[in-house]
Structure formats: structure tokens, C-alpha cells
Symmetry: C2
């Protein structure tokens, strides 16, 4: 299963709204082949691992339960049944309501030995947004902040370019490639006039979600020329011609609405929106680039006023800590 997980990671960022999956075919304790789901709409990992191999009496390790319905590709259960496999070891059940145990049940019913729930914690790390989306019914939110040692994301005069080093900014930009959409507020658009592009996966959808409820963004902004815009704005104001208006009730509703449109993971880059989402418990993952600088108590913070005690405070789990240039990236699950 460790090998299947390793193989699954090959598809990172390329599978769109579908989960990462890895599969390994083993016979007589020898790995015969492996496969990863590595392109949205492409062949499934199980199919790749089995193609052209004599799998008779073999074991297939797969990180996620095999699918049982005709989607963009035929059901993996059919291919497994035809292959002559004796045993299938499944990392975790697929919580997708269209599968949810049906794949495993079918294989068992047809006489295969099926083992479910192997390295489940590690398998879950392959697809946090996919799993969270099904569990909570909303898009998963990552908040990225560039922050000084004293917790400021801007100096007293509002300047924030640049708190962190070039290396950290580049590393931070790459986060966009791990998400389906980017959320920004009017403040960021007015201050930085950004294009909000990303550097990878030109074949996959990439949405910019803009909140501008006071209609502060001038129509001369670069963003007015961008594609794939979802715009939560003031009804009386113009929106970019290519933008689609959205009208959620609140931030929580926005995240439900985005998931319904196939956006499983949303990146939020700093600013006041971060505090608003944190306050409502709507941030699932925090990526903080901590710069070795002090900006003083009059600088702008990014955290809400919610918590009163040490126990209330939001502690990060599943930590990853890495030096990036002179800065430190601290990433974890909230």
C-alpha cells in the first residue's frame, strides 16, 4: 500500500475534481506493474496496473475503492472481475455517494477476497479536499499568509510588498497549482491589481472568485480581462464581461456554492478575508510563510478576535515545516 500511495502522488495537481489514486499489481510477492490516475478524465489507476498483465490469482493494491459505475471510463470493478485477480487490498472506501462500499461489495460477492482500510490515514492525505468536500458539503479552504515574526501581514502604513523573500513568494505562488480556485477580496485587487494566474495545469479549470460587495474594483483593473471569474459583487455595479455573478448568502454559503460547481479546493491569499474565514471556522489548512522581521504592533494582523484562552487557540495538526530562503514555511491542518 505504501508503494501504491507513492505511485498515486504522481498525479498531484492533474486530476481536477477527481481523487488521486494509485494501484500496484503483485504476484508471488513480486510487483508486476503499477498505475496512477494522472489526468482528469484519463484511465483509472487500476486499469493501468492491470493492462496487458497476467493477473490470474494475483493481488491488486489500490489506495481507493474501485469505481462501480460508467463515468468517463468503464467501471474498474468490471476490469478487475475479468482479470482473474484473487485478492484486492483497498486503502479506503470511496465516500463518493455513487460508490460508497458498492465496489467492494460487488467484488466480495463475486468471490474475491477484499481487504479494506489499510494505511487509511496516509491514504486520506492524498485527497484532503475531496474527502472534506464530501464530509462537509463545501469546498476545502487553504489560507496562505506571509507574516512577520510578530504576526503582521502588513506594516502600519499598509505596505506588505514584500515581507517574505523571493523564494517564499515563488513557493507561495506554486500553491495555486494545488487548488481549483483562488479567492480574493476587493482590497487585494485594488491594492495590487493582480492577474491571479497560475503556472501549471493550463488544461484544467482555474477559477478566480472575487468578492467586491461595495463595488470598489475599477473596471480598468487587469482582472476585468481575465477568464473564469466568479463575482460576488454589488448588484448595481458592472462586472467584467466574462464574469459570472454569484449571490451566496454568506461566506459559508459561498463555499457550498463553489463545491456545487466542482471547485473542491479554494486558496485564499492573506488579507481581511482570511480573518473572516478563520473567525467562522472555515479555514481547513493554513500555510504561513514566517519572515525574520518585526513590523510592530501597529501593523496589520491576520487572525480574528475570536479566541480568549490558550485552549481556545487554533492549533495546527499534520505539521510540515520547511525553510524557504530566509523564511520558514509552516503548514498544517486546522
Amino acid at each position: 500500500m505504501a508503494r501504491a500511495i507513492e505511485v498515486a502522488w504522481k498525479g498531484e495537481g492533474c486530476t481536477g475534481t477527481n481523487p488521486l489514486v494509485g494501484a500496484v499489481l503483485v504476484k508471488d510477492d513480486v510487483e508486476l506493474s503499477s498505475g496512477a490516475y494522472s489526468r482528469f478524465g484519463g484511465e483509472h489507476a487500476e486499469v493501468k496496473a492491470l493492462r496487458g498483465k497476467d493477473a490470474e490469482s494475483g493481488t491488486l493494491y489500490t489506495t481507493l475503492e474501485p469505481c462501480v459505475y460508467h463515468g468517463k471510463t468503464p467501471p474498474c470493478t468490471d476490469i478487475i472481475l475479468e482479470s482473474g485477480l484473487k485478492r484486492v487490498v483497498v486503502g479506503m472506501e470511496d465516500p463518493n455517494p455513487r460508490i460508497k462500499g458498492r465496489g467492494n461489495a460487488l467484488l466480495t460477492k463475486r468471490g474475491l477476497e477484499v481487504v479494506v482500510g489499510v494505511c487509511e490515514d496516509e491514504v486520506a492525505l492524498l485527497n484532503p479536499a475531496y474527502l472534506l468536500g464530501i464530509k462537509k458539503g463545501r469546498t476545502a479552504v487553504t489560507l496562505k499568509v506571509a507574516v512577520s515574526l510578530d504576526g503582521r501581514i502588513a506594516a502600519a502604513d499598509g505596505s506588505s510588498q514584500w515581507i517574505t523573500s523571493g523564494e517564499a513568494r515563488l513557493d507561495g505562488k506554486a500553491l495555486r497549482n494545488r487548488h481549483h480556485a483562488l479567492l480574493v477580496g476587493a482590497g487585494t485587487v485594488v491594492a495590487d491589481n493582480p492577474l491571479l494566474e497560475r503556472s501549471a495545469h493550463p488544461d484544467l479549470p482555474w477559477y478566480r472568485v472575487v468578492i467586491d460587495r461595495q463595488g470598489r474594483i475599477p473596471s480598468t483593473s487587469h482582472i476585468f480581462g481575465a477568464r473564469d471569474l466568479l463575482w460576488w459583487g454589488d448588484k448595481s455595479q458592472d462586472v467584467p464581461p466574462s464574469a459570472e455573478r454569484i449571490e451566496p448568502e454568506d461566506l459559508s454559503d459561498l463555499l457550498v456554492l463553489l463545491r456545487e460547481r466542482g471547485i473542491q479546493s479554494l486558496l485564499v491569499e492573506g488579507g481581511k478575508l482570511g480573518a473572516a474565514l478563520l473567525e467562522r471556522g472555515l479555514v481547513d489548512r493554513l500555510v504561513a510563510y514566517v519572515a525574520p522581521v518585526l513590523l510592530g504592533s501597529r501593523g496589520l494582523g491576520f487572525s480574528p478576535s475570536t479566541w480568549a484562552t490558550l485552549e481556545d487557540g487554533a492549533r495546527l495538526r499534520d505539521l510540515s515545516i520547511k525553510k524557504v530562503g530566509v523564511d520558514v514555511r509552516i503548514e498544517g491542518v486546522l
Copy 2:
């Protein structure tokens, strides 16, 4: 010289108010011996390297200029002159007014080849407090803070035990062993009732400097039983029997006064004193333990309100970044 620097570090924390020094004797491109100054009042590095060796026509590498006066030990220049050395390579001139070039000049005058200023930046790192003390005429200040990702050293309710992990707290305690004294305010003493001890160097002086100008510390506090106390208090209040009263004009004057008493390096552990010292530009080194937790905007910060722009902000140099448990230690020179 790199080897002499390596040797010098052996004395870290053990040389009291004297600087770390390392020396290496080389003849025909072979290292014959080495020595470090490793105990306050003990033999000098040069003497250790030369003892019992035939140094005739050899070269001595020493990180700091050899001393030229009778202190606790005879002058190193005498021993060098007796040794028959041909050449002395000196990392840096000793800025101590009693030496300051005189050692090098004497050796040159007596026919030795003397090279001064080799790896000077690295040599300077051996003795930052010693050098800063001579340059600025005050004790060198290290501020230690345990801080959340959003820059808080306490939650809104004032609780700060414990923001960081046990590993980080242990690592932080060890900082005391690198300093001559610890400075605390009344707030810390009243809140934590600490003993302010350290774990190493029982043979070297270790001062607790207490500021309690409103006389808030009750005489039942543990600190009233401690030795080596310097107390900047309210004149009308009792001080611990073993304490010596000090009456500096302000924080800046306090640091001058402490240096005059042989305290070259002072550790300040968090709290409001840190902000007051930062505001006055009196912090030379910051050691921040950053914990992966958010405490919210109502928590207590540690930085002053001084700075307005990104350029004003205090950026750390000579960075050292290290994971300590789940926390990150970020250390640098201000």
C-alpha cells in the same frame, strides 16, 4: 584559522567575562597541537597550544590577538617570544583597551611575522557580547520570546503557559547558560513565581536582575530566597535580604551599569520588558520560538508600536533556523 575557531568553541559558556579563544600550532604544514581558553581564569589558548612543543620556526594561528599584560596569567606575548615561533596569524585585534594592537605590535617589533584579520567575520561570531560591550559600552541583550503564528505571547486572558512545546521550553532554558544574567520584570515574577535558575556553570556568576519599580513583588516570592540579585525597585519597599539595590536612570543606563559590573550578556525572557527594549533599540539578538497555533488578535503581542513602514521594520541578520519539537526556533541579530 577555521580549525582555531572550531577549537575556540569548546569553551562556550565557560569563560565568564573573558572571550573565547582558540589557537593551533602548525609546523611544516602539519598541526602539532591546539588549545582553547576553556575556563574563566584558566590558561590561555596560546599557552596550551605551545606547552611542551618544539615551536621553533613554526606558525601559531590564534583567533584573537595575544594578550600583553599580566592578568590572572602571564602575558601570552612573553610565551610566544620564548617559543621561537616564526609567524603568528591572528583572527582579529583584541578591542580591549588594555591590548588593542599592542600585542601584535610587540611581536612584530621583536621580529615575528604577524598577519592580522583572517576570517574576521567568523572570529567575531565567537564573542558577540564581548565585542558589542566594548563597542557600545553596555551589556549585550538577547530577547527570548515564545510566540504564536499570529505573533502573540499570551492569549486574551493572559495565559501563556504553555504556547510552545516541552522541547522548545527546554531549549529556551538552555539559553540562560549562554548569558551572564537574566532580566525580568515584576509581572513575570508575580505571575510565575520563578526561581530563575540555570542548569550549567555553577562555578560562574549568574545574576538575576529584577525590575519592580512599583514594589509589586510580594516578599513571599521564591525570588526572595535567591542569591545574586540586582534589584531596581521602589525605594520605599523591602528588597530581598541578599539583593543589591541598583538605581539606573533608565533602561539604557541599566545596561551600562550592568556591564560595569562585568555582566556582558543579558537574557530577557519575553513580556512587556521586551517591547520596551525593542522600542529603544536595545535588543541585539532575538530568539523566537514560533508555535504552530493561532491565539487571535486580542492576545498579547511583544513588539513595540515604533515602526511605520516595511523598511522601518527590524530585520534579523545572521539567521539560524531550527525545528524544536513541533515549534521552530528563529534566531538572529537585530
